[in-house]
């Protein structure tokens, strides 16, 4: 059972378009955005790794203390990054696949540019926290 998780969707041009946190532990004063910082630092590793394989699920690319960064890269180079402390590899893979489907449905309308923030927030949020809690 994982206690904390931070999920960010980063678009092609390195702009986060969606953010969600689950089960946040007590935040320290001097490291309020620690999770986001860790994920941002992992972007470089993801960049290099993405070109070495044709798979979409990149497993865990980086560690920080007990937290693991897992990444899933889509065809359009949109990265789903998850910071977590769970060991459930298959659960995380199926979580990413669920999100991938949701993501495609969100960007399919031509009036929603791929680099925009994901606005369908209420429903997307609900689905995401539900899937996250089921997976963890």
């Amino acid at each position: 059972m994982a206690t904390t998780a931070c999920f960010i969707i980063v678009s092609r041009n390195d702009i986060p378009i969606y953010e969600a946190e689950v089960g946040v532990a007590a935040k320290r004063e001097d490291a309020a955005q620690l999770h986001q910082f860790i994920l941002h630092a992992a972007l470089d590793v993801v960049q290099d790794l993405a070109w070495t394989t044709s798979a979409m699920y990149l497993k865990s690319v980086d560690r920080f203390n007990e937290l693991v960064v897992s990444v899933y890269v889509t065809a359009g180079h949109t990265r789903f990054m998850l910071l977590h402390d769970s060991r459930n590899d298959d659960g995380i893979k199926s979580f990413f696949q669920e999100v991938h489907e949701l993501y495609i449905k969100v960007i399919l309308p031509l009036l929603h540019s791929i680099t925009w923030l994901i606005y369908m927030l209420p429903f997307f949020n609900y689905l995401l926290t539900f899937i996250l809690s089921v997976r963890i």
Binding site: W51, S54, Y57, G76, K105
Partner: protein, 194 residues
């Protein structure tokens, strides 16, 4: 009649399934819509270059989404990381889904390392269009060039893509060629990946 068939109504677009559904759309409906698109843009611009750019931008949006959708649906979540891989993806998979057939040919340019050409005897979007003499080299295939550019750009292979008419002896209508010129970083990365 409109609305006769029973289609299940979904309350939210996130609930609709992503599977294929009807794979065919009426050609005349598409041709009508496309001609309206071209005519609308014609009233908005002063010159041909601008018109081609607008059609390309319209195609770019389509291409970016086609890439995501097809990789998920038809390719079982495998990305393309090599040049030849993405070119054959465009030439076969994308063409098959969009136009119902594989593109006629895929060639590598002889003069430059970074040029590739996809040729088609009669491009679907040009089928019902004739270009008046005073529009010179304008080609409505710019829309398809935009789609290809959207796919390549989305996959991480930036390129300049243009559509050209190539006259063929013995045939009344010229062949259409989509010329793809890759940016230098693509070739450098290809060389690095070996």
């Amino acid at each position: 009649m409109i609305g006769v068939g029973k289609v299940k109504q979904y309350g939210n677009v996130l609930d609709k399934p992503l599977n294929k559904g009807k794979t065919e759309v009426s050609l005349s409906a598409f041709a009508f819509l496309f001609s309206e698109l071209v005519q609308y843009n014609q009233t908005q611009v002063d010159n041909i270059g601008e018109l081609e750019r607008r059609l390309e931008d319209a195609g770019y949006a389509v291409g970016a989404r086609v890439l995501e959708l097809l990789c998920h649906r038809d390719k079982g979540n495998r990305r393309e990381t090599r040049l030849l891989g993405i070119l054959s993806f465009v030439h076969s998979t994308v063409w098959k889904v969009l136009f119902g057939k594989v593109a006629d040919s895929l060639e590598k340019g002889t003069e430059h390392e970074d040029e590739y050409m996809i040729s088609e005897k009669e491009l679907l979007v040009n089928k019902f269009i004739s270009i008046p003499k005073d529009m010179g080299t304008f080609n409505c295939g710019a829309f398809v060039a935009g789609i290809v550019r959207g796919v390549l750009d989305g996959a991480g292979f930036p390129a300049v893509v243009t559509a050209h008419f190539v006259p063929m002896e013995g045939q009344q209508r010229p062949r259409t060629t989509i010329l793809i010129k890759f940016a230098e970083e693509v070739l450098l990365r290809e060389a690095r990946l070996g």
